[in-house]
Symmetry: D2
Subunit: 310 residues, 4 copies
């Protein structure tokens, strides 16, 4: 039976890196070269491996200057220009870098991933090949209560130990059972792969090649490394953040300051701050904000009730 | 527990249509107006409902002429121009029409669907709401052997009756079991919805709003109404073909002739036909085609061995 | 000679509107229906006419709820949901509305316009037809000095009257001369249109049909109704803002508050404000901001020097 | 005055190549490395320089196999797979390669170029910098009559020598005059660059960085290396064809056979050929084709009137 196995031993990867070694006049990132092809392991069976890339911080600067000679400018000026581009949302120069990764993740994560449309993707096809017996099982520390207030997510409270054990047991038993039946229908009943796979749960792992430009990658990271993203996809996004830091240190720095950890201030909130900075005392009632907005506003700037109450 | 139910009774749809009725100076398609909001049922629980649309055949003609007055031209000329655009792959005027549908389909179909990136989509979120107890079960006539030659698909041979019965029984039992455990983890163990859903099989149904322009819709249909597409998504594509025929009769006609049922002739094949039409007798050996290509070529034009052997 | 003329008299537009009037069960915007097909005149020869549209505020709410029944919810709740979507950058529901316009603008504006890639466009072809003798001439009040500080734009200082007169005279004379030669090469020398047009200046007018979804339209407006945009494209953007207000009043309101007039606060600036709101006195030196950033920061919140100096 | 000059001497390019030389474990194309950064000159002032690239033929194969080890397969199998992908329009693996170029072209060519939306672009900004005194002047052999039959293009007939001379003289004089006034308004009247540029003709040269994936590049080439494309953009497309051949020899081969020199056969034409190959004699009257289609059909396969008339 044709099974899929794209994982390589460390030894094989060393060999692959060695045999690929060649000279190039393309710009390159020494820190990224170090980790090319090597997997970062994520969740119980997943990984991210960078397969290829194009461009460096200098490529962004180059496109912004529509000029070629990055060599004549000092790093200090490159940092300033990259910060400027990020602050003023001049996004097109960031499209000039590109990265390609080999990913392995559960299907329910892949379903969130694929919503990022401005990217290229080749996914493992379960019509053509047989899926492996690999399923996502959470760590016990990640098994939590459904939040009542945040309908989309989990609360900060872990389930009681015995509940968590039961959950894990159910997840494990159902996936084992599903894979057994999947194999049975393929091997003993000769059913089509495309139909047999429909019994597999959303926790089954899939693999893909994924290629995206830097601008869209940063958009992905803004959404998926956010605290509102589901824990599992956030694990992948955080690894990619580390990869980004190695690859494009100046862009990474600017991205964190002006995008990832920045906040969007509505017209109303901007006016509130202007009034507060000019000495006015603002309460929720005077603010013209909804309850939810006021709460977000207070949290955003650690406004102390005492300070508010004078 | 919050469950999702977007299906309306025929009575409710009649009411919705009645209450929506208004006057417009926008161009419209009377045949499409007839079926707006009404579901076409597909597979055991799926459907397609057209929710909104923009444009008619005249809008394509209008954009092609970059002019406004479609009224001054006869239908005959519109047909000729639409045929011309389709033949010569002038695709941008076809982007001027848009359609929005409400879809319900199994997740393994949705995973193929979402690969069409140039479209807008809002899918039901199983992080936010609870999925219904609805799973895809094939009709017995669609349960087939895995093809040996076409690795991606099914053969034309149905499974023996007893095998098919076993498959159905497995599909049914596993989905029932999975849904029971899903409900149990949500209701009794208070697990997060985002984690509980991972036990559900790929056959579970989901819903979405999907909006796409005509050019990209035709591309979707070319791939998904094709005999190589998986049977289940083809069922949806065929319903959309019928909708297209109602909506844009001239475009539909041109699409069938110049796109859907057209063939792409490689340079080599074009030269072969030129030689054959000019009297030359061609065999596989003389053709310079690979075995697979020659077979496709012979099938494409019903070339009879006797004719060849002459 | 085939010339292009897509402009209609008011009388003809009334006729067109009357003959198009029909019943629909699609959702519609009464305020937008009022202005359909009617031109808004911009600059000396340009215009915007809305030709078609799809969706209303309710369509956004519907997609966000992945449900169909907007009728059961009150407007107040729709407003709240649309504000929520805009604040949290849930952008996909805004893709569910679409608008199509007929535009006439100078080519140097069209070159900026076309950079918005996620849109559909059919432009008048000067290979196929002859361009009209219409060129952009600025109003005298818009003829300004090149700014020294803002390299990309104009200063606030108008040119001296005699300079402005000279500029206008040059613009007028060169375009007249160019059009004369263009006509001469076409009519007397039988030159191809595709080559003859290359003598025409960037101020010559062109026309196009342009179709875009609401999400991308708002992105367009964010960039092109901004004070950094060139004056001439801003004139178009401001008309579209008015159209948006008629079409989708709730979305327009949210767009102004959370997007157009919002500000992006970098991580550093957010921390500064937090410290200032908690009573700390901040100077540029203590701020860790660059000179440019500090200046932007001070302007953003009208921070008074006196307040700073205590 | 800040002017733009991105052109390097051969000596400077040699230096740039030398200083960029480094080791990489990325896959690379030796033939493309040879020409990196070096300009191919096009028209009177234009050029194409490849600046960076990602991927080789093996990357396409790798993505198609969703596997990593291209080394284990023979070139013969890679060729077969690439041909298969191209024949069956499996386009996503071709998105896995990327190329970035520095381009210089007249604005009327850039206006056609930018219509290819799925690409990244940073163009020289004439709001920020001053354009050079460089304008397109055709070679005398390319100055032709407007075609009567093909409304979009030029006939095969060159203009009479004296007409061509007059055309050249007009083009030259007008561009000289326009540039003189442009400089005058900038230097003597202090007019904004953004307004001054509007007097420049469409023949003025601009520069840009352009990055595109292989799938979209092939689509560009299909349209712009076609005989219906305007001569000037075709000159660029043909240089890119040569670059493609160096970069990805297997893909280039498949592209020529299955895309560029392939033909699309409508359902009707396919049926005609089937009948003809099976011995039937077909005339235009029996064909059910329009006059234009019949003419295209006859030309496509060199069907001799004598053969038709028997």
């Amino acid at each position: 039976m044709k099974k899929f196995s794209a994982e390589l031993s460390e030894f094989e990867i060393d060999g692959l890196r060695e045999s690929s070694l060649s000279q190039t006049v393309r710009v390159g990132s020494p820190a990224l070269e170090e980790i090319l092809y090597r997997p970062f392991h994520i969740l119980n069976h997943g990984f991210i491996r960078v397969i290829d890339y194009m461009g460096t911080d200098a490529s962004i600067v180059q496109a912004a200057r529509v000029s070629y000679g990055a060599g004549t400018k000092k790093v200090q000026e490159d940092r300033g220009l990259i910060n400027y581009l990020m602050r003023h949302r001049h996004t097109t120069p960031f499209e000039m870098c590109e990265i390609k990764m080999h990913l392995k993740m559960p299907i329910f994560v892949a379903r969130q991933w694929v919503r990022h449309r401005t990217a290229s993707m080749n996914e493992y096809s379960a019509r053509y090949s047989v899926l492996s017996n690999e399923f996502y099982l959470p760590e016990i520390s990640q098994i939590a209560w459904q939040s009542e207030t945040n309908k989309q997510g989990k609360s900060n409270k872990r389930l009681p130990e015995d509940h968590s054990r039961k959950v894990l047991e159910i997840l494990e038993r159902l996936s084992t059972e599903a894979y057994k039946k999947y194999s049975h229908m393929l091997d003993d009943l000769s059913l089509t792969r495309e139909l047999a796979r429909t019994v597999l749960p959303l926790s089954v792992y899939t693999e893909m090649y994924w290629k995206i430009d830097l601008h869209n990658l940063m958009h992905f990271l803004t959404l998926r490394a956010d605290s509102n993203a589901q824990y599992e996809i956030r694990c992948y996004a955080e690894v990619i953040l580390n990869i980004l830091e190695k690859w494009l240190p100046l862009t990474y720095e600017a991205f964190i300051d002006y995008r990832k950890d920045s906040v969007l201030l509505s017209k109303k909130c901007k006016e509130l701050i202007t009034r507060m900075l000019n000495g006015e005392h603002i309460t929720r009632e005077k603010s013209d904000l909804s309850i939810g907005e006021w709460q977000d506003f207070v949290n955003m700037f650690n406004i102390r009730p005492s300070a508010k109450a004078e």
